[in-house]
Symmetry: C2
DNA sequence: GAATACCCGACCTGACTGGTCCTATATTCT
DNA sequence: AGAATATAGGACCAGTCAGGTCGGGTATTC
């Protein structure tokens, strides 16, 4: 269904929230959960995962919580999603082994791989920091320009 | 997990196959299923769905089968996927109602919506015909240029 | 009228998402 | 010291859905 999981959603929300804090501040899972109305235990797990993979730094005990371990501008949506949901696989073909069952005659692998890379490129080029400007709707601006992917107007559609 | 369903996969495979046929030829579900090693009954359903939604024209009886109802260049991957899997929803937020539970303070909706549109734009700009060049690996070329994207974000259908 | 092929609904099953619960560990405050 | 607060992490459960099967029905050709 080509859909993001809630966990990834929650992760992005939390990261963006943490990115909005001033320098020395931190936020606990509980705070974030209450603020955004997400189930605490679930969010806690997501945060743990993110901490374990180096996105967050955690502090135990009273007044503890999480803070970003990296600059918000250096955390891409792709990384976050991958950290939480595992690798993005557009189609099972090029997941694990190089070939699917119908390897010999499968006619859509190459095109799909390109779409796959396109999507990854898109996600890789959006950072938590990018997401922080609330309504900077650059209606046709930078978000769509994927560096390698030069948006030169082609025809149709 | 941000993954395409097998049905969509099969649909694309079948469409691409049909696109490769010469003018008056058609192919039955059985033929395609055998050729690409996909379960016939499942493929049959996919093809029926595509036929019902105007992508394919079907013919009953002996020597019957399917053929494209539209030019391959006029069928986008997005349309196909939507026809088979239903609408793409990156996150449940902006699926049905305009607001999710945490509407008031949800801080990732806008950025996600943009990603969403980016992906749709990508898919909208690849046609079955585009997928037919077997190995035209334009290494960083046109596939990534999201032309319509700037203009109208992959509307309709 | 037999064979072929599309049409379509019902049904089953295994995986996975979303979520809870419980316990352990670390830190701070009184 | 001990209570309170937070993270860490494993076990577990329920609902949903993708993937696939089956069976009956209709149209067309030979």
């Amino acid at each position: 269904m080509l859909k993001l999981t809630k966990k990834a959603d929650y992760g992005l929300i939390a990261l963006k929230h943490l990115a909005s804090l001033e320098a020395p501040e931190s936020a606990s899972a509980k705070e974030i959960a209450e603020l955004y109305q997400v189930p605490l235990p679930l969010l806690a797990k997501v945060l743990q995962k993110l901490a374990k993979q180096g996105f967050l730094r955690s502090e135990h005990g009273t007044n503890g919580g999480y803070r970003l371990a990296r600059e918000a501008g250096k955390i891409s949506a792709l990384e976050v999603i991958r950290a939480i949901d595992g690798p993005i696989i557009l189609t099972s073909c090029f997941t694990d082994h190089g070939a699917c069952d119908q390897s010999t005659c499968c006619n859509v692998r190459e095109p799909l791989r390109k779409i796959h890379e396109g999507i990854q490129g898109l996600l890789a080029n959006i950072t938590i920091a990018d997401m922080s400007d609330d309504e900077t709707d650059n209606p046709d601006g930078r978000l769509y320009s994927l560096p390698g992917l030069t948006a030169q107007p082609a025809s149709t559609v």
